[in-house]
Symmetry: C2
Subunit: 458 residues, 2 copies
């Protein structure tokens, strides 16, 4: 067979049982990053990934210690002139398995039932990491890789990647590449390959309202003092207008408008009103009245109350007029909003609207901008074509409402875009009991990544 | 000496040192009703009060056990035709003394410094109970009492009087009287004898808003679901209008208007803007714009948020869109508002204003109506004259913003009004460390009660 692409695909098909056996071997390791008792398992999982890289014959394999769990790095540099270089991101850590009693079979005993393989980490994201490694193995089985591939597999994603920014900052030369592949964002459904081309940013605040200088008796002082809980409610109520728009002054000034073509693409997504009603269990939907739900969660900025507290919240009744109230308030941002701008807008909102009866304090807890990839970039086009070859249909282009910190770090520090995709499904129970991997989709994922590599060849 | 009133006053003056010594003897007992370890002290305090009654030669003295701490009952029935009968209310239990390290001297070691006697319970209200007993002793020292006096001294006031309603209900004949004297409501200042002629009622609710059927990721769903914390804030914000009035439908319908004469009397109280600013530490006052502060806290109904909770309120940031939110909301009521009406008004407010995006649930926790005494009643007139004789000035007439449950129980079960007064001062540190009793005021209190008894003679 002279066509390496076909040969690689055939290799993957022939070795499917072994790939699955190796995945199970990886899944058995309870690499729970948040639990200090699993420190040895974390090191074992990192070593396991490094061993895979060694067996692949990568030109460099290294386990980098960090303040927390180690980063596994591997690279296969092509000696072809002008070969593209991609950086594959992944993580070998998994969520805790609790509550254990809700698992049908043991959380770290990979059991196949029907088309699914059940284990903690199967979908998020050991299966995705293995799909990337096995795709490269298939490509290498035919000879050399047509592109340079670097792997950065961290062990702290499930605890917020506390040491990743430092690692990337200190290894910019090592990580130098044309763009990143992040197979951690999943698909909309088994028959809907998906590319996530935009992620919302996040600006997260804690707001505190102070009224009287101590808790008061609501009978003795109710009626002369502005209740801080009430004042906070009034301020929060004013943060949206009657059409669901955020009222912070200037909030929409830098929002990049949605183009007609993009709205048509987003309209292809099978995420209408019914989808969101079913997913959330809400009695009715809500939001900016001029946008469809799928646009509101992905392509429009939003403001949410993540938490609120004041006074007495125990059983029964206590007649307190609380001295203070607080709320956690966060905004999801889209291009080209700046988290620092939003901080200033929130301050201005309070300055303009907080009554003289109370004082306010705002703490800025998190700020990261939105990210968006050019849907016509080399990487996205290569992935679109790869998916189309495997599924015989164009992938869906999704704007994700959440934030993926690593995508922001890659953009900020390395100045590279990420191709965000993956072969996990919405019903894979990531972060929940009975997490599973849909094996037919996983196999298609390996094929897709083989095509992706060849699509990037010169 | 032929005038019994003068003789009684002289007796009190002559026996002042002994009265004080006996008060100290009472104060030494740590009768902390909330602490099971002090059960024996509670019984000791009850017995101590009963002994005082025995020594006074009351015609009946009895300690009634309850499900909790006992009630001490004593009565001195007059054989005079048409003699008035009054019921003196008091409690022998005290608040816990914690935090102990903030006491200058031991909490249960009565120490005199300057004009004050420092002990837990000195002001609230063993001192007040003793003033009543010693006034009667002084009267009896001159012969017979001109009126019938009954004492109901309970041991559970500081824990919400859980067994008092049953006791009163089961002893209506025993407690039969013309009106009650409740010396537990204190004075505005040492030179301002005070009669509290009205107490606000209370209707207390827990409100819950449910949105999505589980906590959502604020990035993935923010923008399509009405955040229940936000919806609750919007509903709470709407409960007052821009002039500080409560917007529950019909809330003011049954509110008895304040008469001009009453407003003038309330205007005499030394409780202007500055007083409330200083007491509360608030930056500015707030409330119904057509009423003075002292009217707003005592003579007008109010609505307060006593507590509010939703979502994540810990350290740092969590991007949750909470499934539900709750608030504790209470109203203070004035004559002739009905707590059950207010419950219905709150339900109607939610029915009319809660959006279809969420559901709501309201639990009614407490409901008691306001009480108001006729300022021209025999009892109030007798107390007004007594105070005027001692202080050489008319007492102030105050409407208290809080609720005193026993006053409501007496009204509801025995159908009697209470004369609410007392000789405690605002700076007595009731419920706080270094509680004290102002002894000159206490002595004036004994004199006042002697006059009060003679003023009620036929």
């Amino acid at each position: 067979m002279s066509n390496p692409r076909s040969a690689a695909l055939q290799f993957a098909q022939k070795n499917n049982a072994r790939f699955l056996a190796e995945l199970k071997d990886f899944l058995i390791i309870p690499s729970i990053s948040t639990d200090p008792e699993h420190k040895a398992d974390m090191d074992r999982a990192a070593q396991w990934v490094a061993n895979q890289f060694e067996e692949l014959g990568l030109t460099r394999v290294e386990i980098f210690p960090t303040e927390g769990h180690p980063v596994v790095y591997g690279e296969m540099l092509s000696d072809l002139k002008d070969a593209a270089t991609i950086l594959v991101y992944g993580h070998y850590d998994v969520q805790p398995a609790e509550p254990l009693e809700l698992w049908t079979t043991d959380a770290f005993d990979p059991v196949q039932r029907g088309e699914n393989l059940y284990t903690r980490g199967a979908s998020d994201m050991k299966g995705q990491v293995m799909a990337s490694i096995k795709a490269l193995e298939a490509v290498l089985s035919t000879g050399k890789s047509p592109i340079s591939i670097k792997f950065l597999i961290e062990g702290e994603e499930e605890i917020g990647s506390p040491n990743l920014e430092d690692f990337i900052t200190n290894h910019q030369k090592l990580l130098k590449c044309d763009f990143a592949l992040n197979p951690d964002t999943g698909m909309i459904g088994a028959e809907n390959p998906t590319i996530t081309y935009a992620l919302r940013g996040l600006a997260y605040f804690e707001v505190r309202i102070d009224g009287p200088d101590h808790d008061l008796h609501s009978g003795i002082y109710g009626g002369v003092v502005h209740n801080p809980a009430q004042a906070l409610c009034e301020l929060i109520a004013g943060m949206h207008d009657e059409n669901g728009y955020v009222t912070l002054p200037g909030f929409y000034d830098k929002v990049r408008p949605l183009g007609d073509e993009e709205r048509i693409q987003l309209g292809r997504l099978p995420m209408g009103e019914d989808f969101y009603l079913e997913q959330t269990g809400a009695a009715a939907l809500w939001g900016e009245k001029d946008y469809y739900p799928v646009e509101r969660v992905g392509a429009r900025p939003t403001l949410e109350v993540n938490g609120i507290y004041s006074g007495f919240i125990g059983e029964g009744s206590k007649t307190v007029l609380p001295a203070w109230a607080m709320a956690k308030i966060s905004t999801r941002l889209v291009p080209d909003q700046d988290p620092d701008d939003v901080h200033q807008q929130l301050i201005r909102y309070f300055e303009e609207n907080a009554p003289e009866t109370v004082s306010f304090k705002i703490v800025n807890l998190v700020g990261s901008p939105a990210s968006i990839s050019d849907r016509n970039s080399v990487g996205v086009q290569a992935m679109q074509d790869a998916m189309q070859r495997v599924w015989q249909k164009k992938p869906l282009f999704r704007r994700e409402g959440g934030s993926v910190p690593v995508v922001v770090l890659f953009k900020d520090i390395l100045n590279i875009d990420s191709v965000n995709c993956g072969f996990s499904l919405p019903d894979d129970n990531a972060h929940s009991p009975n997490e599973k991997l849909h094996l037919p989709t996983w196999n298609r994922g390996i094929d897709t990544l083989i095509h992706f590599i060849y699509n990037l060849a010169n």
